[in-house]
Amino acid sequence: MTTTDALAVRRNELVRGLLDILPADSVLHQAEALRPYECDGLSAYRRLPMAVALPGTVEQVRAIMRLCHRLKIPVVPRGAGTGLSGGALPIADGLLLSLAKLKSILDLDPVSRSARVQPGVRNLAISQAAAPFGLYYAPDPSSQIACTIGGNVAENSGGVHCLKYGLTVHNLLALQVVTAEGDLLTIGSEAPDAPGYDLMALMTGSEGLLGIVVEVTVRLLPLPERAQVVLAAFDDSAKAAAAVGEIIAAGIIPAGLEMMDRLAIQAAEAFVHAGYPVGAEAILLCELDGTNDEVSELILRVRQLLMRCGATEVRTARDEAERQRFWAGRKAAFPAVGRLSPDYYCMDGTIPRRRLAEVLGRIRELSEEYGLAVANVFHAGDGNLHPLILYDANQPGELERTEQFGARILQACVDAGGTITGEHGVGVEKIDAMCGQFAAPELAQFHAVKAAFDPDGLLNPGKAVPTLHRCAEFGAMHVHRGELKFPDLPRF
């Protein structure tokens, strides 16, 4: 039997099993029906799965997992497909499990300040449902109008307000998770500090490798009485970086603190007309929230600090409409940059803030070396850098050059004491970069953790954590400081 035939047999077996669980319109297996699922937000990687299942109940998810466990078919979970690291890239001999139909808000309790929702509920929809009670869900990734809470849990998503309000992991109370065997587990609760090991920490950001999240209870926070944003322009990005440090040193923790460089400013301005100063080398957006008096006082202090740090212009949004406009430019920065070039590649390194000027300098050097332009958008408050490399996938070899360039940016982040991914996840995209971030014993420990949850390796295999062999091959190509990273492993 050829491989193609074998695949067809497995596909038939899987589809037959799925049709016992789900109505026919919830099982997709024809190529044209599978096409919309071939990639997530990282469209450079595309692949068709054997089939797509769209369960509408938790019991169906459990039955599907039991089926796949019995048939030993790998499962890739998917939310809205907005992920930027290929975490939801299908596996050719696997099932793509879409959680999109599980999209009900099950309960919202304004007294205990929590919401119990299904994984396919959109991030923003939670805040919208909570707003009548004066509450909101704090983590706000830029894709919040589309991305789902299940995906946010899988990636431990951040957003522009992380420094003050934390990541997804800081805003979760409980999860219901279906295991690789189809069992239902409850992790955490509305009571603090669940007994035993903190599986919530482990599950959050595990990129679908440890279990399928089928219900999420999030913590809601009171909407601040007032939020106000200050925009400061600088003629030098190093001065903007220094200003960030000064604000923190003054004991002020802004609700959001964002930086954009010249190219990103120009792109955003051309796209959404946010009123950004297009001649500036860098801008800072600093949002302060709290009670009315508190915000007035902090705005005054931040304005003075920014002027002292050499800002060429400091503007306070005059009203809510202008505040929204200032943020619209930042939140639309990725698509705005997308208009400058046929394709762009978004990086997601994190660095200690003090190394910012140096890392930006390194990115400029690499940009010249590769002949590819870069726009920089930076969650300055928490050190998360998003360089956007502009390229044209239709030019032969340009994607490969872009990926190489990107890998060297990530290595620069690691060398600066940072990490290869702050919030987008490893997925398939940064799997090789993981070999530079971790040594063999750490990777082996990750695999042991995975095996404790999923001994057959059926949940999203091949993502997030590279095999030691893969790193051995990769390490042979990238010798770091003259040392082989995996000296003990056999080479090919």
Partner: protein
């Protein structure tokens, strides 16, 4: 004081793993009474100490596990910063490692986050004696599973902590503590109601007949909120909260078993005999009394929470709320993934972990 015992500790663990000798990991011996009765050969880690990096502008401190908690707190205070989760020390000898291994947080926990929330990275020795590093010194990091936060509250049973990186924050510029007499029901309603409003709450307590509330933030915000909430001002508020955190408050005196119930904060008062003290907006409730553990656990579970025999009582029995069989099996597999020989603080958390 700075000393690096990493290699010594790793070698001890490797040797113990080879012989399957259980180890009792010991820091400052300030919380030896916590968890189940320790067993095994003593592995001292208090000597592995020193603050490795602290840059106030980065809002991160990294220190060896044996570093005294008091030294870290004092160093941060010099730069106007603190550990927002305000951990109890339960003695001057308390170390950073013990603090993180126990995963205990102080009065500010529901408003500022827990010990686990502030961990950014950790270097550990797993049960094979391998030195491993997870997370880092940056606020956001999703490379690999979040093993460093998994260490919090694991009571050393997954790895010996070598060093830990924590997020720190500026100390708020102003605090006010307010007191008002009331019954427990009104106290819980007040704590939960205010927590849903933009009020700078930073600690809450009901001590039997009074509700005590702390506000923290900018001077204007705190004064404004204090006027809004009403009640009397407590002159020595800082002392009250420190005594509460360290269990020096009069409530905690005596030898009767002390139970800690962690509950959904809006849970109405639980009908069990004994002396109650409520903290964390209703999320943490202390019960001092000789009550049948079965009743306490059942009551906590029925309310959607869990109960811990915090101090006293039978330390050889189940101290933490028993886990469901499927959950226990998963946690046992996880323990094996880190410590296949079962030598790291075995049984301190649960039998078999």
């Amino acid at each position: 004081m700075s000393r690096d015992l990493e290699q010594t500790i790793a070698e001890r663990v490797r040797a113990a793993a080879a012989q399957a000798t259980p180890l009792n990991i010991v820091g400052g011996v300030s919380k030896a009474w916590y968890g189940r009765t320790p067993t095994g050969e003593r592995l001292d880690v208090a000597g592995h100490q020193g603050i490795l990096s602290y840059e106030p502008r980065e809002l991160v401190v990294r220190a060896r596990a044996g570093t005294k908690l008091a030294e870290i707190v004092a160093t941060l205070a010099e730069a106007g910063q603190h550990l927002p989760f305000d951990p109890p020390a339960f003695g001057a000898s308390a170390t950073l490692g013990g603090t993180i291994a126990c995963g205990l947080s102080g009065p500010s926990r529901p408003y500022a986050g827990s010990a686990r929330d502030h961990v950014l990275g950790a270097r550990i020795v797993n049960g094979r004696g391998e030195v491993l590093e997870f997370g880092g010194q940056v606020m956001k990091n999703v490379a690999g599973y979040d093993v460093s936060r998994l260490m919090v509250g694991a009571l050393g049973s997954l790895g010996v902590l070598l060093d830990v990186s924590l997020k720190v924050l500026p100390i708020p510029e102003s605090h006010v503590t307010l007191v008002k007499e009331c019954n427990p029901r009104d106290a819980l309603a007040g704590m939960n109601g205010w927590a849903g409003k933009p009020i700078p709450l930073s600690a809450t307590c009901f001590d039997g007949n009074r509700m005590i509330v702390r506000l923290s933030g900018t001077e204007t915000a705190v004064q404004h909120a204090a006027q809004r909430l009403g009640g009397d001002r407590l002159a020595d508020g800082d002392r009250f909260w420190a005594d509460l955190r360290e269990h020096r408050h009069a409530y905690f005196a005596g030898d009767v078993p002390l139970w800690r119930l962690a509950l959904p904060p809006a849970t109405p008062p639980i009908d069990l005999p004994g002396k109650w003290l409520i903290e964390w907006g209703g999320g943490q409730r202390w019960l001092h009394g000789e009550v049948d553990p079965v009743h306490i656990r059942a009551a906590a579970q029925a309310a959607g929470g869990h109960a811990t025999l915090f101090r006293g009582g039978d330390r050889a029995g189940s101290v933490f709320q028993p886990l469901e069989p499927a959950m226990l099996a998963l946690q046992q597999r996880l323990k094996k993934a880190f410590d296949p020989a079962g030598i790291l603080n075995p049984g301190r958390l649960y039998p078999g972990l």
